[in-house]
């Protein structure tokens, strides 16, 4: 049984912590407080990003002392990592199956990229934070949460299986290096998501040239990328 915690705007973040029936009352209470901390952090983080999030402010908002938070999290980093993980996991769960029909598949492929970019733009601070700091893979486990990496691996695997699907259907180029192509697709979607987070007026007001809506840019970008793969 998952705890669904309601946050400010529409996001209902499903947190991995499980509140079970057969937990001791103490443990259940503990999980509740832990969740309160995470909720407050989520609220602040969404509005002001990592910069606005301080342990003291968090403690203030939930009427605890700063030290108390360290009974629930070893460090601020661990707390933030949990926020990022929950966010990134949420980006991925898009319960849509790849269709076999060629015309529909094209739309589906574009939809995958658009979905990723739009989800990222819904909470730009989260998305940017999820990719801040360098992360080694086997080498330095102290620098990044393990699940953080595996969520990104999952993202890549999903993208790659989409590309392979397109190839096997005969829609994409048959001599495609699906791994290189997937890396390009991901990097390109990632790039647009980040650049639009950092420069909110990138679509509309960026120097000379016509104004585009955010939606227009995202669709055009996705279409451009997918078209580059088609035979």
């Amino acid at each position: 049984m998952y705890t669904i915690c309601r946050l400010s705007p529409p996001w209902n973040v499903r947190v991995t912590e499980i509140i079970d029936e057969d937990m001791s009352p103490a443990e259940r209470r503990r999980q509740k407080v832990r969740q309160t901390i995470l909720d407050a952090a989520e609220r602040v983080f969404a509005e002001e990003g990592e910069a606005g999030l301080s342990i003291r402010r968090l403690a203030d908002e939930i009427d605890y002392s700063p030290g108390a938070i360290y009974k629930y999290f070893d460090s601020k980093q661990e707390l933030v990592d949990e926020l990022k993980e929950a966010f990134f996991a949420q980006i991925l769960d898009r319960g849509e199956q790849a269709p076999n029909d060629r015309a529909l598949f094209l739309e589906y492929a574009r939809g995958c990229l658009e979905h990723y970019i739009r989800k990222a733009l819904e909470r730009p601070h989260h998305y940017a934070a999820a990719f801040s700091g360098r992360m080694e893979f086997e080498a330095q486990p102290e620098d990044c949460a393990v699940s953080d990496v595996s969520n990104k691996k999952r993202a890549f695997e999903m993208l790659h299986s989409m590309v392979e699907g397109g190839v096997s259907i005969g829609l994409f180029k048959q001599d495609l290096d699906t791994y290189l192509a997937s890396k390009s697709l991901w990097a390109s979607s990632h790039g647009l998501a980040l650049i639009m987070s950092h420069m909110p007026q990138f679509a509309s007001d960026f120097i000379t040239g016509p104004r585009h809506s955010e939606d227009q840019l995202i669709r055009s970008h996705a279409a451009f990328l997918i078209e580059g793969l088609t035979a």
Copy 2:
């Protein structure tokens, strides 16, 4: 006359400060100290990024007191902005003319993207920092340096004129929206640069699939993007 300051690896950063002959000795001395601070900051920043750069450490390295630095820079932000600007300006000056020949132009276009990505990867901390924090354009001038924006505008203009060149030569699709296309190109190059900075093993060790060299991935990415524009 520019001051060319030699830094650790091969980067010789041309700083915009001008040390002129007809400056008063006081002013010349002042500029020299200012440059010493920037050099030390550059050294630390390149190795450890913004996180490792503190005013007190900087002061230690150049044998001044922390307060002294504020005689030369209003804030740490201003100092870092100057580093970023110098770096970003350096990315842009690639003294190569667009060729008229169609075959050569294709190579030239790929080269533009590859150059941008490689320059970014040379100093990943600088590049990531150059795009950290959100920047409004007319609205909030206190949040970002003016030149910072204009350098990015310059980058976009250069890219856009390249795309227009390709169209006018008849190499790229004639019905191309050159502005949308340029935004896609930039976002895509930006994305690969950032993702490779943050995950050094993205090219080689990223989950299953064949290992690619960084060079291979960059070339394939650039080729993929440019091919998407060709008629």
